[in-house]
């Protein structure tokens, strides 16, 4: 594995390997001394062209727990756009000797460009690009699913047979795309649930089922429900028009106490955060014992440590995915 650009690039064995590594690293995070010396002397650059708090902090924590040096490069507010300026930024990072670049960009494909342009020698990790991919989020979701729903000895196992409903704004969601790819690779059955206006063109070709009716899907007893954030910042142009109003959306697609009660008792409730409480998820659902939303954050650090470890710890130029 040289880069991590898309959840679709991972085959089953590579994905399980990341999850197993994350499990061992998670165990180290319960100790009094959480820092490991493994990536001493390596430099990780967080290159964020788009707002993000939790993903950036999560990557920063992961890199620091492995003793790597972290440089945060926030491009917000500058006139950076794709093309020349991404190139110039990349050349700067190369000159500073970055070993890994964690990039978030509003344009789909920017991490791919960075990884394959030859501008940087560093390993590139996609931390979310446009409406395309967010592979570490899918990995942390898969890790959380495996921890809760796969046997007492999850090491080495995939998610075969699990049924996961992914509900909400699929159109704007790189989390949904990455999860469909990865969970399918790991053997889970994903059902996307959304109003027709919030489903992308071509969704019928994805390796998943699609439904417009949340209640019907919940009655089938899924093992996990993943609520997506309604991305209102991406809906501003032309007055939105994706749904009539917040109230109607939450009546039809929000997870509230009534729908929570329909879920099987073993099922877990997930959300990639940040949540719009009262819109896609009610406070009862978000704070219920079945919700694992806070745990997802902790698992995110372990999964990102695993990704950085697998990308950076081995001999350089070694392709061992």
């Amino acid at each position: 594995m040289k880069h991590l650009l898309s959840a679709a690039d991972l085959d089953r064995d590579a994905a399980v390997r990341i999850l197993d590594t994350a499990a061992e690293l998670a165990a180290t995070q319960g100790r009094e001394i959480k820092k490991l010396p493994t990536l001493r002397g390596r430099t990780v650059v967080n290159l964020f062209f788009e707002d993000s708090t939790r993903t950036r902090i999560s990557f920063e924590t992961a890199a620091k727990r492995l003793s790597a040096d972290v440089i945060n490069f926030a491009a917000k507010g500058s006139s950076v756009s794709k093309g020349e300026s991404l190139k110039d930024t990349a050349l700067t990072l190369q000159a500073m000797g970055a070993d890994a670049v964690v990039i978030r960009h509003q344009a789909s494909g920017a991490p791919h460009l960075l990884a394959n342009s030859g501008w940087v020698q560093a390993a590139v990790v996609n931390a979310g690009d446009g409406t395309h991919q967010h592979p570490t989020q899918a990995l942390l979701d898969a890790y959380t699913l495996r921890r809760h729903l796969v046997g007492p000895q999850p090491a080495g196992q995939d998610l075969a047979g699990l049924r996961v409903a992914v509900v909400g704004d699929v159109l704007h969601s790189r989390v949904a795309r990455s999860n469909v790819d990865l969970l399918h690779t790991l053997g889970a059955r994903v059902t996307l649930v959304a109003p027709p206006t919030l489903l992308p063109v071509g969704v019928e070709a994805w390796p998943c089922d699609v439904s417009y009716h949340l209640d019907e899907v919940l009655e089938q007893g899924p093992d996990a429900v993943m609520m997506l954030r309604v991305q209102r910042e991406r809906m501003s142009s032309a007055g939105g028009g994706f749904f009539p109003g917040p109230l109607e959306y939450s009546r039809r697609y929000g997870l509230d106490a009534r729908r929570l009660a329909v879920l099987p008792s073993h099922a877990i409730v997930m959300h990639p955060g940040p949540m719009n409480r009262g819109l896609e998820i009610s406070a009862e659902a978000a704070d219920s014992p079945q919700a694992v939303i806070v745990e997802q954050v902790a698992n995110g650090v372990a999964v990102r440590m695993a990704v950085l470890y697998l990308l950076l710890a081995g001999g350089r130029r070694e392709d061992v995915a």
Binding site: E24, R31, K35, L36, T38, G314, G315, V320
Partner: protein
């Protein structure tokens, strides 16, 4: 450090009975030195230190009923503390499981199969210091083959095996390789 071996390769220097006798003797040595099983914690270093530690714990318990494998046996993975990580492809991370009571103020006995350069043990000592502060750390190995690169020695040795640095020592164990044996191969060849 031994590699996964193809059976039947190399000269056998220890057979199953030798391995068994060596472990029994080491168990007695540990108890004699510690004056009983009080405060002992046995930690195996993956991969082959782990089954050795389990066997050792079994013998300790049979000699000294005060020794409880459930609370005095664990494993210590050293992958994240190695000094040669960037010289090889990425290594999978092994399992670290400490007894619930931890290692503070205990006498920790590290168990590994082969003592060679000493670098594994250096990494193990670093890993231990991140986990707590043992009263003392001791080292038990099945084979000491010499060629140390660091000032480290074993307290309990199953067999001292003079080797050439070009030779390869392989420890095979029932649990991981299907049979117990110590083999030497390579050399001037």
């Amino acid at each position: 450090m031994s590699d996964p071996a193809t059976p039947g390769e190399g000269r056998e220097v220890l057979g199953p009975d030798d391995v068994s006798r060596a472990l029994t003797r080491i168990a007695h040595e540990i108890l004699e030195h510690n004056k009983g099983a009080d405060g002992l914690v046995v930690l195996g270093i993956p991969t082959r230190g782990l089954p050795l530690a389990h066997r050792l714990a079994g013998r300790l318990a049979s000699v000294e009923p005060g020794f409880d494998p459930r609370t005095q046996l664990g494993s210590l993975d050293i992958t994240m503390h190695r000094d040669d990580l960037n010289r090889a492809p990425v290594r999978p991370i092994g399992v670290t499981r400490l007894p619930a009571s931890g290692i503070d103020d205990r006498t920790v006995v590290l168990v590994d199969d082969v003592l060679f350069s000493g670098r594994t043990i250096r990494a193990a000592l670093d890993a231990l210091s991140d986990l707590g502060r043992p009263r003392a750390v001791r080292l038990a190995v099945l084979v000491d083959r010499g060629h140390r690169e660091l000032p480290i020695r074993a307290d309990h040795v199953g067999k001292n095996l003079p080797t050439a640095s070009t030779e390869r020592v392989r420890v095979m164990l029932e649990e991981t390789d299907g049979r117990d044996a110590v083999l030497i191969s390579g050399g001037e060849g």
